[in-house]
C-alpha cells in the first residue's frame, strides 16, 4: 500500500445533461446474456455520449414498481424496463408519469393512448429458424436439442423457430431430424427452474447428449456455461448455439464450442434510442421490432467453426434469410 496517490480531477468523456436509467428483470445485469446486452447499451452511451446512468436490479417481481418509482424520483430522463415481466409495472408507471419517457424491452404497450412508452421487441423466431436449419445440417447424428430458461413466449419464440428450421432441413433433404426439448404443437419441452438454475441446465444438456444430440440451443441466458460443462463431461463432439450476444466474442473461453450465436441486438437498440434523445429528437413511442430485415436480429459469424460449415449451407442460410424477409418462408410453421 505505498503506491503514489493519483492526481485529482480525472474524468471520462465530456458529460451531457442527460440521465438514462434501467431496471432489470429478476436477475443481475451480468448474466452474460439478455440483461447484459441491454445494459451494455447504457454503458456505451455513458462512454460515448457522456450521459449519466443509473440502474437497479430487481430481486423479485415485488421490486419492479419501487425500482421504477425510484428511478422516476432520481430524475431520470429515460427509463428502460428490461424484460417481459416488467410489462405491468412499466405500463402503470408510464400512465402515472406522463412526463417521463419509458422504454420496454420485450414488452408491449397495454394502453393505446400511452405516448411515453416505447417497446423494443424482436422477432427471434426468424433468426432461430436459420439456427435450426444450421443445427440440423451441421449435426452428424441428426439429433439436436434445445431448452429454455422458463416456459414463456419470449423464450419459446426462439425454440419454435429453431424447431421449424430443423424440420425445414428434414423436409428438404428427407433425412429425419429429431429435435429434443421442444415440441411447438404440444407446447411441451424442457425448461430449467429459471435463468439461474445451472444444475438443471447441465442435466438437461447431459440428457440430450446421452440421447445423441450434438447441437444444443440453450435459450436460457447465461446458462450456456452449464451446457458447455455438460459437453465437457460427455467428452463428445458437441456444440451449442449462443443467444442474445455473440457468445464466442463476449465469453471467448467457450468459443471452441459455439457454432454460432443468435443475436438479439439490444445493445444497439438501447444506444440508438439514447443517442436520438440526446441529439434532441422528440420521443417516438412507435415500437421498434428487430427482424432479420432491419438487422435487429440475425446469426453471428461462425468463428472457429467457419471452415466446418460448408459454403453450400452458408448459401442456403442466405437463401432462407431472403425468404423470411420477403415473406415466402414462415419461420413459425
Amino acid at each position: 500500500g505505498c503506491a503514489a496517490a493519483p492526481e485529482e480531477g480525472e474524468s471520462g468523456a465530456e458529460s451531457v445533461d442527460y440521465k438514462a436509467c434501467a431496471v432489470s428483470d429478476e436477475g443481475s445485469w451480468n448474466d452474460k446474456s439478455f440483461n447484459e446486452a441491454a445494459y451494455a447499451g447504457l454503458t456505451k452511451a455513458e462512454d460515448e455520449l457522456g450521459v449519466e446512468i443509473a440502474d437497479a436490479e430487481s430481486a423479485s417481481a415485488d421490486d419492479f414498481e419501487p425500482n421504477l418509482s425510484n428511478m422516476i424520483d432520481a430524475n431520470c430522463d429515460i427509463i428502460f424496463a428490461v424484460g417481459f415481466n416488467l410489462i405491468d409495472a412499466v405500463n402503470a408507471a408510464a400512465v402515472a408519469n406522463p412526463d417521463n419517457h419509458f422504454v420496454t424491452i420485450d414488452g408491449y404497450v397495454a394502453d393505446e393512448s400511452t405516448t411515453n412508452l416505447k417497446p423494443i421487441i424482436y422477432s427471434m423466431n426468424e433468426s432461430s429458424y436459420l439456427a435450426g436449419y444450421l443445427a440440423a445440417a451441421y449435426s452428424t447424428t441428426k439429433v439436436i436439442g434445445t431448452y429454455g430458461g422458463l416456459q414463456i413466449d419470449a423464450v419459446t419464440d426462439f425454440m419454435t423457430g429453431y424447431y421449424y428450421g430443423a424440420k425445414a432441413y428434414e423436409t428438404e433433404t428427407g433425412t429425419p431430424v429429431t429435435v429434443l426439448g421442444w415440441d411447438p404443437t404440444a407446447a411441451t419441452g424442457q425448461f430449467t427452474d429459471g435463468f439461474g438454475d445451472s444444475e438443471g441446465a447441465k442435466n438437461i444438456s447431459a440428457g440430450q447428449i446421452a440421447s445423441d444430440a450434438d447441437v444444443i440451443y440453450p435459450v436460457a441466458g447465461g446458462l450456456f456455461s452449464a451446457t458447455s460443462e455438460a459437453i465437457n463431461e460427455s467428452g463428445k463432439d458437441v456444440v451449442f448455439l449462443g443467444v442474445d450476444q455473440d457468445v464466442a466474442v463476449t465469453s471467448p473461453e467457450y468459443a471452441d464450442q459455439v457454432l454460432t450465436s443468435v443475436l438479439k441486438k439490444m445493445t444497439d437498440a438501447v444506444y440508438d434510442v439514447i443517442e436520438e434523445q440526446v441529439g434532441g429528437a422528440t420521443f417516438d413511442a412507435t415500437p421498434y421490432v428487430g427482424t432479420l430485415e432491419n438487422g435487429g436480429t440475425g446469426l453471428a459469424d461462425f468463428g472457429t467453426f467457419d471452415d466446418k460449415v460448408s459454403d453450400e449451407i452458408k448459401a442456403k442460410l442466405e437463401e432462407l434469410t431472403a425468404g423470411i424477409i420477403d415473406g415466402s418462408i414462415d419461420p413459425l410453421s
Binding site: D197, S198, E199
Partner: protein
C-alpha cells in the same frame, strides 16, 4: 431434582400390533405399476441403451416392448407386496431390503413406461441421479453426524451454500481447484462452528440458529455476489471444474464403470464417506462417544467425556462435509457460483436424515431417490411424455412429503438431539 424414573416393565410380548401402513403403500404402488404401466401401458418399443459407442466395451442396445416388460416387473412387484403383507400378518416389520428392492423395481417399471417409443439411456439415468444426489448426500451425512451428537443442523442449506461460494471464489482467484476444495471444507466448518457456538455456548435453540444462519449465509453470499463477483466474474467466479479421474480398467466395465469408476474427486469422496461415516459412528471409539453424547449427554459426562467439546468438534467436522457438498455444486458440477444455488437441497438433506433414520447408508439411499426423481423430470421431458412439466417438477418434493408423513412418521432419533447440555 424430582426427575421421575419411569421404566416400563418388560413382559413377554403378547400381541404386537400389526402395522399395515408399509404393506398398503407397497400394495397400492404394485397395483398401479402392474395395471397402469403394464396392462394399460404403452405397447411401443423402448430401446434400452447401456453403453456409448465410444465405450471400451460396447454392450448391445436392448429393444423391449414397454408394456411387456412392465407387466413382468409388475408381477414381481405384486409378489414383493404380497411378501410384505405376509410379514405384516406375521406381526413382523417389513425388512428394509424388501422396501429397497421394491423401490428399484418400481422405478424400472416407471422408466420403461415413460421411455416407450424412445431411448432409455441407463448410464445417464443412474449417473445423473448420483450427480444430483451428491450434494444432498454430503449434506445429509453432515446432518446425520450432527444429530447423532445431539445438534440438530438446520443450517445444512447454509453450509452447502457457503461451501459452494468459497470454493468457487477461492479456486477462481488462486487458480487452484485444490485450494478451492480446502476452502469449501473451511467454509462449511465456519458455518458449523457458529451453529455449534451459539447452540452450545449461548444455548440458543438449535433450530432457530440454523434458520437464522441460512438467512445470513444467503445474505452474505448474495451481497458478495452482487458487490464483487458480478463485476469481474472471470477473475472471481470462473473456477472451472474438477477433472474426471477414470480408474484404469475398472472404468471400462460397461454401465458400472461409467457410474462408479469414472467420476470426479468429489464423487469419489462421497462414495468413500458414506461407509466411512457409518464405520466411524458405529464401529469406533469416537463414534461410540459421539452417539453417547447425542443420546444421554449427562451419562456421557459421568464417564469423563467432555460433552460440549465433543459436540463442538463433531459438528464442526460435519460442517466440512457439508462444505464439500457445496464444492460438489460448483467445482464438482457447473463451475461458477450462482446466487442461492443450493436451492433448498440442504432442506432435502435434512429430510433424508430423517427418512434415513439417522443412518448414513439409508440417508444416502433417500438422497439417491431424490436425485432420481429430479433426474426423471429431465428424462420425462426429453421423451416427450405429456405430463405437465410443472407437475413433474413437483414430484421429488411430493415423494419426500409422502415418505416423511406416510412411511416414516414417528421415528425415534437420538434422544438428546436439539437439547443443549448445561453443566453446573
Amino acid at each position: 431434582m424430582t426427575a421421575v424414573i419411569s421404566t416400563p416393565v418388560v413382559h413377554t410380548v403378547t400381541e404386537i400390533p400389526r402395522k399395515w401402513k408399509v404393506s398398503i403403500v407397497l400394495g397400492v404402488l404394485s397395483v398401479v405399476a402392474f395395471v397402469l404401466f403394464g396392462l394399460l401401458g404403452d405397447a411401443r418399443e423402448a430401446l434400452i441403451v447401456f453403453s456409448e459407442t465410444s465405450d471400451a466395451i460396447v454392450l448391445p442396445n436392448v429393444p423391449v416392448t414397454s408394456k411387456v416388460l412392465c407387466i413382468v416387473v409388475g408381477i414381481l412387484l405384486l409378489a414383493l407386496a404380497a411378501v410384505s403383507f405376509w410379514y405384516t400378518v406375521g406381526r413382523r416389520t417389513v425388512p428394509m431390503w424388501l422396501i429397497i428392492a421394491f423401490t428399484i423395481l418400481f422405478l424400472v417399471s416407471l422408466v420403461t413406461f415413460t421411455g416407450a417409443g424412445s431411448k432409455i439411456p441407463v448410464v445417464f439415468l443412474i449417473s445423473g441421479s448420483i450427480a444430483l444426489a451428491t450434494p444432498v448426500i454430503f449434506g445429509s451425512l453432515a446432518g446425520v453426524i450432527g444429530e447423532r451428537v445431539g445438534v440438530v443442523n438446520i443450517a445444512i442449506e447454509g453450509q452447502l451454500l457457503a461451501g459452494a461460494f468459497v470454493s468457487a471464489v477461492v479456486a477462481s482467484i488462486t487458480d487452484s481447484l485444490t485450494l478451492g476444495l480446502i476452502a469449501a471444507l473451511v467454509g462449511g466448518a465456519l458455518v458449523s462452528m457458529v451453529l455449534a457456538a451459539f447452540s452450545i455456548k449461548y444455548l440458543v435453540d438449535q433450530i432457530i440458529v440454523g434458520v437464522v444462519l441460512n438467512a445470513l449465509v444467503i445474505g452474505i453470499t448474495n451481497f458478495f455476489y452482487a458487490a464483487v463477483l458480478n463485476d469481474n466474474s472471470t477473475e472471481t467466479n470462473f473456477p472451472g471444474t474438477l477433472p474426471f479421474l477414470p480408474i484404469p480398467v475398472l472404468s471400462d466395465i460397461p454401465v458400472i464403470g461409467a457410474v462408479l469408476f469414472d467420476q470426479r474427486i468429489t464423487t469419489y469422496i462421497m462414495f468413500v464417506l458414506v461407509p466411512l461415516v457409518w464405520f466411524i459412528l458405529f464401529k469406533t471409539k469416537i463414534g461410540l462417544r459421539i452417539r453417547a453424547v447425542g443420546e444421554h449427554p449427562l451419562a456421557a459426562d459421568t464417564v469423563g467425556i467432555n460433552v460440549n467439546r465433543t459436540r463442538f468438534w463433531t459438528v464442526s467436522i460435519a460442517g466440512t462435509i457439508a462444505g464439500l457438498g457445496g464444492a460438489a455444486l460448483t467445482l464438482g458440477s457447473v463451475g461458477a457460483f450462482v446466487r442461492e444455488m443450493s436451492a433448498g437441497q440442504g432442506f432435502i438433506a435434512l429430510a433424508c436424515v430423517i427418512l434415513g433414520r439417522w443412518n448414513p447408508w439409508l440417508a444416502a439411499l433417500a438422497a439417491l431417490l431424490f436425485g432420481f426423481s429430479k433426474n426423471f423430470r429431465i428424462f420425462a421431458g426429453q421423451t416427450g411424455a405429456d405430463i405437465p412439466p410443472d407437475l413433474i417438477a413437483m414430484v421429488p418434493y411430493l415423494v419426500t412429503l409422502v415418505a416423511v408423513a406416510g412411511l416414516v412418521g414417528r421415528v425415534v432419533g437420538p434422544a438428546a438431539a436439539g437439547k443443549p447440555y448445561v453443566k453446573q
